[in-house]
Symmetry: D2
Subunit: 150 residues, 4 copies
Amino acid sequence: MRKVSVNPDIVSRQEMEVRWGDCDAAGIVYYAKFFDWFSDGRVGLLKQVGLPYHANFHEQGIVMVAIEAHCRYRKSMRPEERFVLETRLAELSRSRMTFTYVITRQGDGAVVAEGKTAHAYVDSAGKPFDCQKRYPALWDRLCEIFAAGN
Amino acid sequence: MRKVSVNPDIVSRQEMEVRWGDCDAAGIVYYAKFFDWFSDGRVGLLKQVGLPYHANFHEQGIVMVAIEAHCRYRKSMRPEERFVLETRLAELSRSRMTFTYVITRQGDGAVVAEGKTAHAYVDSAGKPFDCQKRYPALWDRLCEIFAAGN
Amino acid sequence: MRKVSVNPDIVSRQEMEVRWGDCDAAGIVYYAKFFDWFSDGRVGLLKQVGLPYHANFHEQGIVMVAIEAHCRYRKSMRPEERFVLETRLAELSRSRMTFTYVITRQGDGAVVAEGKTAHAYVDSAGKPFDCQKRYPALWDRLCEIFAAGN
Amino acid sequence: MRKVSVNPDIVSRQEMEVRWGDCDAAGIVYYAKFFDWFSDGRVGLLKQVGLPYHANFHEQGIVMVAIEAHCRYRKSMRPEERFVLETRLAELSRSRMTFTYVITRQGDGAVVAEGKTAHAYVDSAGKPFDCQKRYPALWDRLCEIFAAGN
């Protein structure tokens, strides 16, 4: 499947704060929570470029189903600590999108975590599809927005 | 850091069911939820071998902090589907433990997801430590239980 | 709206265990988590009486949307503690169902929490409807199962 | 237990957005999630008045354990909808605090939900205590900040 060469300069930066419910019994952010934040990153990036996920994907019958998720944790965080979540599209193809994430603590600027998630386009019956064929207008918009050189 | 060669036959098998709150707006299990299940797998494995996490780690001041987490998703699941979570210890060293997970759907036996998480031992101040030096009795028990050949 | 007099002897009893991810930074079960357990109770009760929620409600286009939720907390619980969740249908009418919940700790039998949730039937557009009119077969089954004297 | 008469004009207003992970398989915000937002409201209110929860309560060994929680739901919300969470302290006594919450949708200004949570002060062993006796400086600050007429 042909991959689009993606512009690495398009990034969503979200300032966030560790919430009480994000932490586990060890008093630090629960490791699964980072993947929830990565969802916020994807949604934020798509909104920033003018393609809000709910309206342009979910309501059109497109599910961007996770096929892989990875996180490397470098620091722990506690409630009320503030951080920045940076999200980038790393790969775009007619069958999938891959996003990368960097979480940086405010104050000392330490990298707290780095992540990557890959998502396939599937329809509401769970069948994968070719985005360019099934949703050509959306595909063109994605290329316009994210392709390097644009 | 010397690694202990781990017995691959020690496995925890937990029968579980997709709960309503596990699913997202796409009607399928939310991708972050799998990491929550992996926690259940670790806790279940440690309990099965006679080292319940809460009593033997948490209450002793040991945090098994996540340093890496990975999941590959192969199938989607919906509420009330039943599955089996298999958890194994893959690596044991004086600084960390790595676990692997396989989730298999009941009925068709399809592999739904495969995961891996790595955890370092840190104290309540967040400092990593050598388990053999700081908690020799626990370390001996871990080796006794998990070392290949035992 | 006429209420059906409900048989108080129909109860679902689920044995459960506090999971690591259920707890907050205070080391005890997070208060919002109880409402998640209550969902497990409703789903378990409906399954026990032969009306699994996913197949009989969700897939038929019925959303049982929460209109009220209440919990009174009497004890705290920590990871790996075991408890029993009892769920009963308290009220059944053509527009709503109300459930009650009691959580009892195993070991000392202490009541940990008591809850109540009320749910209206709405369609996928979010419109409330009369269950007897719109889904007469389901309504008859509900009455058959839950009405006092049956 | 003497109650302090609370100034009803002290309110925290937080602008928030429904996140993907907040929604359940019905595509609307999961009912348990509101209680998680209420935690954000409490934390936000305490921070706004200069008493951040983590530093002034959690790290001092004070747990504000929930003893009661209630929510009345009036509207459903979907991913990416924006809303305002208003939080007020409703009752302050030497043994407990009660907070009230109103969630209003942006756009139409509709009230989405109203909630109330009550919390007792307990120590790390789970024992309730009299805040004025055990933490007189904190108690004076709370009265100074929240008492009506101040």
